[in-house]
Amino acid sequence: MDIFFQQLVNGLTIGSIFALVALGYTMVYGIMKLINFAHGDLVAMSAFVGLSVYDQFLGGTTNSLVAVLTIFAATGVIIAMAGIILERVAYRPLRNAPRLSAVVSALGASLVIQNGIMLIWGPRMRFFPADILPATTWNIGGVYISFIQVVILVVSLLIMAGLIFFIDKTRVGAAIRATSIDHDASRLMGIDVNRIITLIFVIGTFLGAVGGLFIGLYYRGINFNMGWNYGLYAFVAAIIGGIGNIPGAMVGGMLLGIFKAFIAGYVSSTWADAFTFTLLIAILVVRPTGIMGERVAEKV
């Protein structure tokens, strides 16, 4: 039984990261009907930016809340800015172009960011120092839970709760939901759609940046090309939850994390990807709009 709970903890940890990244996909898709293929690479970039912030300004500071908050704040701001630039350069000029052109532009942007990371930080794996956060681990009845796992879970849940409150209960949140349904009708309400899109990129990339920093802090080794992997899985999570559906992305991320953990733990690590993607296709065949239903307006 302890193995079961251990896998659950493993799954929830990686699932939280998937969920954070998936939110960026789902929000951008909801508003722009665009798969932002560059999102995963921004996630990877945030880990590198975070490491540089630590090295440059906080070198040697350990176990300090201030240091960790500084890393998150500075990285969040930088990556959000990168997100804004990405939207301006690669997506806005294509807003009225055929859908697939924007997809290719997104793929191009992904190449730019990924190789940009390589040019700036080099092709080698880089390492987060082990002592930014306390290395405490608790053994609860044979289930090992580390401090960083608790941080990832709690912070992710808090952020997501905050996001749901923002989207559901505030005026701007309502404007975001309206824009994702109908750009023109939203304009008629006096909503500045461009501003909403910029805001979506800021929020989405910020969440991705948090995910990227968690990846760095948890696994420590970061690679310039790791973004694709997380991006793909997070995107699958967004689809499972129903694309455009914000709570769906969270649930989808968590479910995917747990599913992957249980497949590797109970079935076969050798076939983990095959199982994951077969499940994805099966879900799409049975419920073409994801398990929680998509929140994307029908074409009018």
Binding site: M125, Y219, G221, M226, N229
Partner: protein, 378 residues
């Protein structure tokens, strides 16, 4: 004018411009096929830098047979298809020998092309399949997986007397090849394997696999794979409270392993031929000194040195035979005995395997250094 015609003109211009570059010149051309970018960039750059250092030193002394050495590097990015393109590219440049590649997969993908063109190839690839074709152009500068597998199985069963063994590999040909050789050898000795599974290189999250392994209560985890995954496996293993001994295979031998495993590197083990700093030979000490002087860093691992040995043997053969005819060079290389290499004496079996074995088991110390624990040094 039609657009089509314009397109064609552009095509032709490009091809024509790029066509006429290969000219005969009076140098000895050596190719380097190595992953200088991508996942193994670190190792690939080490090989490239090492080869260029040697060439520079020899050229400074007037070259070989009165000719300067010219180095051509092709980046195979660690992928087989790129390696196939590299092979054709290097052959077209007119190289007589190729150093590399780092991974067995890339070496193997390029092998047939070098063989058909009569170009000598020396690689550190340890996959046993590399020597199965019996190409006369092929010279392995490391020791094959089968040798490492025999050593590993013997050490686990007869020396450490492990009772419950877990084997983890990734999906690469080197890793699965070595993993299944070790598995077969262990079974031959009557060992008990409680788990075997694959992880996806680059995936980072291996806790589900490790948790599964934990449930099997192994006393040892053996990972045949590369250093990045080894480091992550080791640190995640310890965070999950899995107390089994951890052994990495030869490709885990890289300083990045220690960085990734962090404090958990201490007490983990590695099976490989000697690392650069542990080589007792003067040649090795001098090479490391020169490398450090030129590049302000250490070679990434023993693999750089093994490849350098392959190159040195090629050059030695050219010097001794006074020819650049690869057929004659190959014949000569098969006859040499105990040629003093940086990594120890070199000789080749007819199938191109480097004979002998120098495998050792190291234990990582608290300061990140390695201590030989087997065979016991007298």
């Amino acid at each position: 004018m039609n657009k089509m015609v314009r397109v064609i003109t552009a095509f032709l211009l490009f091809f024509a411009l790029s066509g006429a570059s290969a000219m005969a010149s009076d140098t000895i051309k050596i190719g380097v096929q190595a992953p200088t970018t991508g996942q193994y960039a670190n190792e690939g750059q080490g090989i490239d830098q090492g080869v260029r250092l040697i060439a520079e030193q020899i050229n400074a002394k007037g070259g070989i047979l009165g000719k300067q050495i010219e180095i051509f590097t092709c980046d195979d990015e660690g992928t087989a298809m790129k390696a196939a393109i590299c092979a054709k590219d290097l052959v077209n440049k007119g190289v007589i020998g190729v150093i590399g590649s780092y991974t067995s997969t890339c070496a193997e993908a390029a092998q047939a092309t070098y063989y058909r063109a009569g170009v000598l190839q020396t690689t550190d690839g340890t996959s046993d399949t590399l020597t199965e074709h019996g190409y006369w152009t092929f010279f392995r500068n490391s020791f094959p997986n089968s040798a490492e597998a025999t050593y590993t199985a013997n050490y686990f069963i007869n020396v450490k007397k492990y009772k419950r063994i877990a084997i983890v590999t990734d999906f690469s040909s080197y890793s699965t090849g070595l993993g299944s050789s070790v598995e077969a050898e262990i079974k031959k000795l009557g060992g008990n394997i409680v788990y075997q599974g694959k992880i996806k290189a680059g995936a980072q999250n291996y806790t589900p696999v490790l948790t599964k392994i934990k449930s099997k209560h192994p006393d040892v985890i053996y990972f045949s794979g590369y250093y990045n995954e080894a480091g992550l496996l080791r640190s995640q293993q310890m965070q999950l409270g899995v107390t089994a001994d951890f052994y990495g295979s030869n490709a885990c031998d890289n300083p990045d392993y220690i960085k990734l495993a962090g404090k958990f590197a201490e007490g983990s083990y590695l099976i490989n031929v000697p690392s650069p700093e542990l080589l007792p030979y003067d040649l090795a000490i001098n090479f490391l000194k020169d490398y450090r002087a030129k590049y302000k860093m250490d070679p990434p691992s023993i693999w750089t040195l093994l490849n350098i040995d392959g190159m040195r043997a090629f050059l030695y053969a050219i010097e001794q035979t006074g020819t650049t005819d690869t057929k004659k060079l190959a014949e000569y290389l098969h006859t040499i005995k105990d040629y003093p290499g940086i990594t120890g004496p070199i000789q080749w079996a007819p199938d191109g395997n480097r004979t002998g074995s120098a495998h050792q088991t190291y234990e990582y110390q608290a300061d990140g250094s390695k201590k030989i624990i087997y065979p016991v040094v007298k």
